[in-house]
């Protein structure tokens, strides 16, 4: 038996531990944001956005353009495949089917693989075996595989949250399976799907290890999809290892942070909208 006074001490200690831990977590988050804001803001300048990268002016614009290209291409590849497979899993496959289990296992495996392993695979497969050399195309395909499990999972959840009565009413009115999917289910699930896609964009923007040996590190505006180009995160890594560009590094870190946080906030907004509708 615990005596009453002992219980009080124990309770107070536990409370203290909980509040200290929560305080630490909050402090870490705020420190990162505030520190980068304070150090980054004074270093922001128009030169950072000049179209040409030189060794004196570490402009981030080429890297930003490369990042946008990578996002668009990776989404063009991964979004249809991810949404399509989620549709198959939720709307077509029978529950408990062996094939469905296999896909579950593979997507879980994919989402656990570290990005450097994706990068190495991209280098071995797209860059070397398919002879694409370091290129935005190779980078985009590598990223597409990487974000596939994320898009699949979020789409699946969004589709599953559509009430079965919608499907039944649509069938009852004589609509076929495809019409039901495209006219009823997808529009209803779209905020959830969108939230997943935006989350995937956030991951692409933040990715670096998977891109160094696939898209390469050339700091120029790309001529074509086959030219090599560094993304913003790779750019961030490269200039932070050069002592001469510390000011630019702070500013680039701030730009990258604001971009990623903005994207994640947007994704959270759509996710909440889906939840509110239910």
């Amino acid at each position: 038996m615990v005596k009453a006074s002992n219980q009080k001490v124990l309770s107070r200690t536990l409370s203290a531990l909980v509040y200290i831990a929560a305080g630490l977590t909050a402090a870490v988050f705020l420190t990162i944001i505030i520190y980068l804001l304070v150090m980054g803001l004074p270093n922001l300048s128009f030169d950072l956005f000049s179209p040409k990268y030189t060794s004196e002016n570490a402009s981030l614009l080429p890297a930003l353009v490369n990042t946008l290209i990578l996002i668009v291409m990776a989404l063009l590849i991964a979004a249809p495949i991810g949404i399509g497979s989620a549709i198959y899993l939720v709307e077509y496959a029978t529950r408990g089917n062996r094939f469905v289990k296999l896909i579950r296992v593979t997507t879980e495996t994919l989402s656990g693989i570290p990005s450097i392993v994706y990068g190495l695979f991209g280098m071995l497969f797209f860059v070397t075996a398919l002879k694409w050399s370091y290129s935005l195309l190779a980078g985009a395909f590598t990223l597409a595989i990487m974000i596939l499990p994320l898009i699949m999972r979020t789409t699946e959840e969004a589709l599953q949250s559509v009430p079965d009565s919608y499907r039944e009413s649509s069938f009852g009115l004589g609509a076929g399976k495809l019409r039901t999917i495209f006219r009823i289910i997808l529009p209803d699930a779209s905020p959830g799907i969108l939230s997943g896609i935006i989350l995937a964009v956030g991951r692409i923007v933040g990715e670096s290890a998977a891109l160094i040996y696939t898209a390469g590190t050339v700091a120029k505006l790309p001529k074509s999809l086959m030219s090599s180009g560094r993304s913003l995160s790779v750019h961030m890594y490269n200039i932070s290892s050069e002592a001469t560009h510390i000011g630019e590094a702070y500013a680039t870190a701030l730009v990258l942070l604001v971009l990623v946080l903005g994207i994640n906030l947007l994704s959270g907004y759509f996710a909440r909208r889906l939840r509110k509708e239910r």
Binding site: Q7, S11, R12, S15, V18, A21, A22, T25, V28, F29, I32, Y35, L36, I81, G82, G84, S85, Y88, Y92, A93, L102, I103, T106, E108, T109, L110, G112, I113, P114, S115, I116, V117, L120, F121, M123, L124, F125, I145, L148, M152, G176, L178, L199, G202, G206, E207, S208, Y213, S233, M236, S240, I246, Y250, A253, L256, L257, V260, L261, N264, L265
Partner: protein, 284 residues
């Protein structure tokens, strides 16, 4: 006509679903085909347990990197798990209603911060602090552990939180009714019931820490020797690949791919234990 369309689209959806299976197969094949022969050539035992990594002399032992990865991961778990778990308990049972929303979004945003930003933050803030406190270069196991501990926080918090919230309210109320205080009810009735979920979060955190590359490369010092103190620099399996892949050729290159194979096998084991844990939670 309509029937064909229905069938065609069904086949297209099925094909899409097969892509992830094909991707996993391709990744396995390409890694193993490129990495395993090198392991055989060097000698599996020599490769895994060799303490010297000197590619210029054709000596490839990755034990320093395996140990490095284990050290920084263990450090991250030691720091990240208690703080993350307690933060999750705070959010689940102690947090004022008004604070819950912003706090939870802050944790979600932390998960989205890119590893290069964490690395840069570690480089400009954490490394000098450690240098001033303990001497040396500041790039060390300790620095990497602290940073990785921060990086796995959001994973630990969100997975633990959702498993804490899944515990039926009756557990908490029952403990209260038996005379336990709020804190005791949470820690000794609710928390044990969420155990397997918390463990799953820890496994996910281990996966994230062991696979982290760019943040570690910037702050861990990257010396390929077995460290004798937590203030010494360290090289992990992941950073070994990035550091040398750029100029490696022949056996050296294949040895780096074999390093990735070792990492991959580690991760597969972790994934397996994660899904076993999840299954036990769903059944129990």
């Amino acid at each position: 006509m309509k029937k064909w369309k229905e069938r065609g689209m069904r086949a297209a959806f099925l094909a899409a679903a097969c892509v992830s299976v094909v991707a996993v197969l391709l990744i396995c094949i390409f890694l193993f085909v490129n990495g395993v022969p090198a392991m055989a050539e060097i000698g599996v035992f020599k490769f895994l347990f060799g303490t010297t990594w000197r590619p210029s002399n054709n000596i490839y032992g990755i034990l320093p990197m395996i140990i490095g990865s284990l050290y920084v991961t263990a450090g991250a778990i030691l720091l990240g798990v208690p703080i993350g778990l307690l933060t999750a308990i705070f959010l689940a049972r102690f947090c004022p209603k008004k604070l819950y929303g912003p706090f939870k979004s802050a944790v979600e945003l932390m998960a989205g911060i890119p590893s290069v930003i964490y690395g840069f933050f570690g480089l400009v803030l954490l490394v000098p602090v450690i240098r001033n406190l303990f001497g040396g270069t500041g790039k060390s196991i300790l620095t990497a552990s602290i940073l990785l501990g921060i990086m796995i926080l959001p994973t630990i918090v969100s997975v633990s939180l959702s498993s804490l919230q899944a515990v039926p309210e009756s557990y908490y109320e029952g403990a209260l009714a038996l005379g336990a205080s709020h804190q005791r009810s949470v820690f000794f009735a609710v928390l044990p019931a969420a155990k397997s979920g918390v463990l799953a979060g820890v496994v996910l955190g281990v996966g994230r820490a062991i696979g982290e590359t760019m943040a570690v490369i910037m702050i861990a010092g990257n010396q390929a020797v077995i460290p004798d103190s937590i203030l010494k620099g360290v090289r992990t399996l992941t950073t070994n690949i990035v550091l040398e892949m750029g100029y490696a050729a022949d056996l050296h290159r294949e040895a780096l791919i074999a390093t990735a194979v070792v990492l991959f096998v580690f991760i597969l084991i972790l994934n397996l234990s994660f899904s076993l844990l999840k299954r036990s939670r769903e059944n129990g």
